[in-house]
């Protein structure tokens, strides 16, 4: 490219920052859709040579151009979200709103700094033990009761919502927000389904230019799940009754929990039920004689334990209640002491690999030599979440803990 021309364009950029701010790519002085090294250098020299403090908009353009040059090879980035929608970013995201705690957790695993996030949903703001940096952070309500006015007042440059869960509510939020701000990118990313989790994480890594950390996270998951698969195939799958936090509400094929039971090497006794989350007749549990019972805690009337660690003694009480259910004394799981309570924090979202590791150890005790869910949990918290690994104490998440 013609160097004097670039220099002239760079001076124009310095004098008229808003013109450049409106251009497709910051620092793309010739408008060819690519920020060349020469263009970046010219922009830097224009600012340095001016000898004065540049306007904020000019500096912001230069910072965005520098970031895009390093992380996106100087071009716009097109990312396809979990819903299949393609979005093209012409600037790095610096003011995002996240209404999906699993996505925020994944962002943290990928090193996305809090400084890029201007607001979160109210449930994230209410989890100070797990999201201490967002305690008291601006909240824009929840998916079920969003505060649109506040959302728009935060001047976001992107919004992150679920793709699959609460789809109608998220569709409505997207519709209303984009009606006010048609150019606002709305990413629909789940980050909770095991079969797509690493793809979702890779999408986020791509958006934030954190591909290396994405590869590290993927390696961590792949390694842990390979060990689970080895244990799961070490013996015949036991018959498993999985009960959600609603009594006698179970899971079937198509639900994430069914997939996790299967991944851990269990055979879900209600796998063929036509509903994904069926309510079942208590007698049918006794009739199917499960070898293992898993009870999910963490919501409904089973709120205890987890990262807050509150009322963790209730794990034992809940298990005793299960053991005492009418007719259950004849169930092999009760007879053999294979009834377990697990907190959803290590099964429902990105930490599913920890819960699956616990379950694989329960399902295949003889083949679980390499499985150490507590160490895995500690490593995840320390290396990916930047949290105290002491939070991973099994007493907070499973019962019996050992």
């Amino acid at each position: 490219m013609n160097t004097p021309l670039i220099a002239v364009l760079a001076v124009c950029m310095l004098l008229c920052p808003f013109v450049v701010a409106d251009a497709a790519l910051p620092g793309d002085l010739d408008g060819n859709g690519f920020i060349a090294k020469e263009e970046l250098a010219s922009s830097i020299l224009a600012i340095l040579s001016s000898g004065t403090t540049p306007p904020d908009a000019t500096l912001s353009d230069l910072r965005d151009a520098a970031w895009m040059y390093v992380h996106w090879n100087g071009t716009a980035r097109t990312v396809t979200d979990s819903s299949g929608k393609s979005l093209t970013l012409t600037r790095p995201l610096r003011r995002i709103i996240v209404m999906n705690s699993e996505t925020l957790e994944t962002m943290r695993s990928l090193g996305v700094k809090k400084e890029r996030i201007v607001a979160v949903d109210k449930f994230i703001a209410q989890k100070p033990e797990f999201f201490p940096e967002y305690a008291g952070y601006p909240s824009v309500g929840s998916i079920w009761a969003p505060d649109y006015e506040k959302m728009l007042s935060m001047r976001p440059d992107a919004l992150f919502l679920y793709a699959s869960v609460s789809r109608a509510e998220c569709d409505e939020i997207e519709r209303r927000v984009t009606a006010s701000r048609p150019s606002l990118p709305v990413f629909r990313i789940d980050c909770y389904r095991p079969e797509t989790y690493l793809e979702d994480a890779a999408r986020i890594a791509e958006i934030f230019g954190e591909e290396e950390k994405g590869a590290r996270l993927a390696a961590f998951y792949t390694d842990a799940l390979t060990k689970v698969a080895a244990a799961a195939s070490s013996s015949a799958p036991p018959e498993v009754y999985f009960e959600t936090w609603n009594d006698y509400k179970t899971v079937a094929r198509g639900s994430g929990y069914h997939d996790k039971v299967t991944m851990a090497g269990g055979a879900n006794i209600f796998r063929d039920n036509p509903a994904e989350y069926p309510e079942i007749d208590p007698e049918s549990v006794i009739a199917r004689k499960p070898d293992v019972v898993i009870k999910l805690a963490g919501s409904g009337k089973y709120i205890f334990g987890g990262y807050s660690g509150e009322n963790s003694s209730r794990f034992g009480e809940v298990r005793n209640t299960l053991l005492g259910r009418a007719g259950w004394s004849s169930i092999p799981a009760v007879r053999d002491g294979r009834v377990y309570v697990i907190h959803n924090a290590v099964l429902g979202g990105p930490q599913y690999l920890i819960g699956v590791t616990y379950m694989a150890r329960w399902f295949h005790p003889d083949g679980a030599g390499d499985l150490d869910p507590e160490s895995l949990h500690r490593m995840y918290l320390q290396e990916f979440q930047g949290l105290d690994p002491g939070l991973a104490h099994p007493d907070r998440f499973v019962f019996p803990a050992r």
Binding site: L40, S42, I44, L48, R63
Partner: protein, 171 residues
């Protein structure tokens, strides 16, 4: 020279080298050395891959002769040199003047990835400004020495040399 002297000298040099390397890590630093006749080679060491702007202001009477960057990445205006750093880890330039410029060049930097700004530290000088943070990960685990550690390392190396010479005299 006896084996013990060699070992003492070697250990001193290694300790000194480690200190110097440690001091350089994490800080944008300038070092100056005589080149030829009345010219000096100024080397700027950038601790990580980043995008930054550096302004070096030389004392009056000095002339900038040569810069290691391509022409589109620097600009000279009298005694002011503006540099656009895009991934380079080391930049050198030659200056000519009547005296040694050590201690008289003033430099500032802005990291456009992190947004941080600071002064260019002169090698062996007291560190000035915040460290230039790595926007793209630096080699991790590099030790960073404090100035006092650097001084004590240098003192140790000098002591080793003095000791070796003293023993040689005794022999």
């Amino acid at each position: 020279m006896k084996r013990g002297h060699l070992i003492a000298g070697f250990v001193g040099m290694v300790v000194c080298a480690i200190m110097i390397q440690g001091a350089a890590a994490g800080t944008l630093e300038r070092s100056i050395e005589p080149a030829d006749h009345s010219t000096f080679r100024v080397t700027l060491t950038i601790p990580g891959d980043t995008v930054a702007g550096i302004t070096e202001i030389l004392p009056d009477g000095m002339e900038i002769l040569q810069v290691s960057l391509p022409p589109h990445q620097y600009h000279v205006n009298g005694t002011t040199l503006s540099l656009a750093v895009i991934g380079e880890r080391e930049i050198t330039y030659l200056v000519r003047g009547s005296g040694d410029p050590t201690g008289s060049i003033r430099g500032t930097w802005t990291d456009y990835l992190s947004g941080e700004v600071g002064s260019v530290a002169e090698h062996g000088d007291e560190m000035r400004g915040p460290e230039l943070p790595p926007a793209v990960p630096l080699a991790s685990g590099t030790p960073k020495a404090s100035p006092s550690l650097l001084l004590s390392g240098t003192a140790f190396a000098i002591a080793c040399v003095v000791m070796v010479r003293a023993r040689r005299r005794d022999e």
